[in-house]
Amino acid sequence: MSYDFAIAAVVTLAGALLAISQANILHAVFGLAISLVGVAGIFFTLNSPFVAIMEVLIYVGGIAVTMIFAVMLSSVTNPQEKENVGRRLMAAVAAGTFFVGGALVLHHAEFADGKELLNSEHSLQAVGVNLLNRYNLAFETLSVVLLLAIVGAIVIVRKEPAMPADAEEEAA
């Protein structure tokens, strides 16, 4: 195992630990961003620079930033909500099941030989062509899901309790 992989793995784990241990939500989001940069590093050491860049461009530059935006504009960085043991237990069970299931699938999956894949030229082009031909339906469905998310966000924002008159005027 090369030591650059080790560095990337440590960054990923450290970021993930930060993300789940911080009480301050904003710190947790920054931890998540660090973790995602680490994941990009892992992809990079695995000779997939394109996936690595996309990880940074979309997850760090897009999703993490959007999350920070949401946290900032909703001003609940230190939630005062009471600890709910039942909820926590449910979350733990759900996360544990997902982890075990994922690990089992990975364990039983058969992977193509890495070296063979590395040598195939224009793998990126192949991804693009496959995405728009063979998997076109899944691709388009995903974009519909994203559209739904946007529309849903607007609906949720619109349903907030009535704003004071002057604020409403400003919003209009």
Binding site: N24, L26, H27, F30, A33, V37, P49, F50, I53, M54, V56, L57, V60, G61, G62, A64, V65, I68, F69, M72, L73, H122
Partner: protein
């Protein structure tokens, strides 16, 4: 294949420190000169003298300013979010240096050769956005927070037309292809590789500003907004927000933001030269010299714009991006794709 500098240095343990030191030194000189140039250009446009006292033509003025900033006390206000406050200047500073390393200064002078150089530059820009957030939030100051929110909203909006305009160039490069001088064989051009973009222009003797004029204009306007420069300098509009996200920073930490800002100017200009103005391509003079000449020409235009146009209002800025720039860049991309597919 041309031997890149990174290949030359690859054998040595010292490769990383040497390369990093070279980039840092060059960038520091660049920032010093750019600040001086900005003051001189603004003075010239406003019929003033600009700095004249320190050194010939006031050339050493920024050096003196920098020494002052280094020797100043680092003030940490008492109620700041300490980890974020301390981390932000570093995080603003690091990705900028990394992006410069990817630029093809000439056919052989490329510090880091990468197949996806173009995307890398944009990805590093994304990390800088998080640094601005950290600074704005960590400062525990309403001006800083407002500045950060504006800055990030602006950056992520203008990133879309910026990338879309670059993408139409990528399409053109992929369609044109070029031959490498050594083998004479036609290489499948990879439009995401910065040096391939330049080579395609070099070989066809055609700068892409002529092929993609709309993309070039969109790119330039978005680049102004990405670097938070006038007329889009709303995040640090001094008349309303003091200094935006870096209000609470002083001394060396402030100068790191400053450094990042001016280096960002250089990066978007270099990228503009690579995408639209033929990179190192030019007669007589050596390639890297042309590359820098063109880059500084673009920077001069950016300064010229700053001292010519008044600042936009924030809603005007966002409306302009979402209702003009993005539809226009999507149309341009579609038109380019159509032409490429048909021809």
């Amino acid at each position: 294949m041309p031997e890149t500098l990174s290949q030359l240095l690859d054998d040595s343990v010292l490769a990383m420190p040497i390369a990093a030191g070279l980039i840092m030194g060059a960038l520091t000189i660049n920032v010093l000169m750019l600040v001086w140039a900005e003051r001189k250009v603004s003075a010239w446009i406003q019929r003033r003298m600009g700095p004249t006292e320190v050194g010939p033509f006031g050339l050493l003025q920024t050096l003196a300013d920098m020494l002052k900033l280094i020797s100043k006390q680092l003030i940490t206000p008492s109620n700041v979010d300490k980890p974020l406050f301390h981390l932000a200047p570093l995080l603003a500073f690091a990705p900028v240096i990394a992006a410069v390393a990817l630029m093809p200064f000439s056919k052989s002078l490329i510090l880091v050769q990468n197949d996806f150089g173009l995307l890398f530059v944009f990805a590093f820009g994304g990390i800088a956005v998080i640094a601005i957030f950290m600074a704005g939030w960590g400062s525990n100051n309403k001006y800083a927070l407002l500045g950060a929110i504006r800055s990030v909203a602006q950056s992520i909006s203008y990133e879309i037309p910026l990338i879309l305009s670059a993408l139409s160039v990528v399409l053109v490069v992929n369609a044109m292809g070029f031959t490498l001088a050594s083998g004479g064989s036609i290489v499948v051009a990879n439009g995401l590789d910065l040096s391939h973009i330049v080579m395609a222009q070099d070989q066809h003797g055609l700068w892409f500003v002529l092929v993609q004029p709309i993309a070039a204009i969109i790119y330039f306007i978005s680049a102004l907004a990405e670097t938070n420069r006038a007329p889009f300098d709303i995040p640090e509009a001094e008349s309303e927000l003091v200094a935006g996200f870096h209000t609470e920073y002083s001394g060396m930490r402030f100068s790191m933001f400053f450094f990042a800002e001016y280096t960002n100017m250089l990066i978007v200009s270099m990228l503009a030269v690579v995408l639209f103005f033929g990179g190192w391509d030019g007669p007589v003079l050596p390639g890297p010299l042309w590359f820098f000449l063109k880059s500084y020409m673009v920077i001069f235009v950016m300064m010229w714009v700053r001292w010519t146009f008044p600042r936009l209002r924030f809603d005007q800025l966002m409306t302009f991006c979402w209702k003009v720039m993005i539809p226009l860049s999507i149309l341009n991309l579609l038109a380019t794709a159509f032409v490429v597919a048909v021809l």
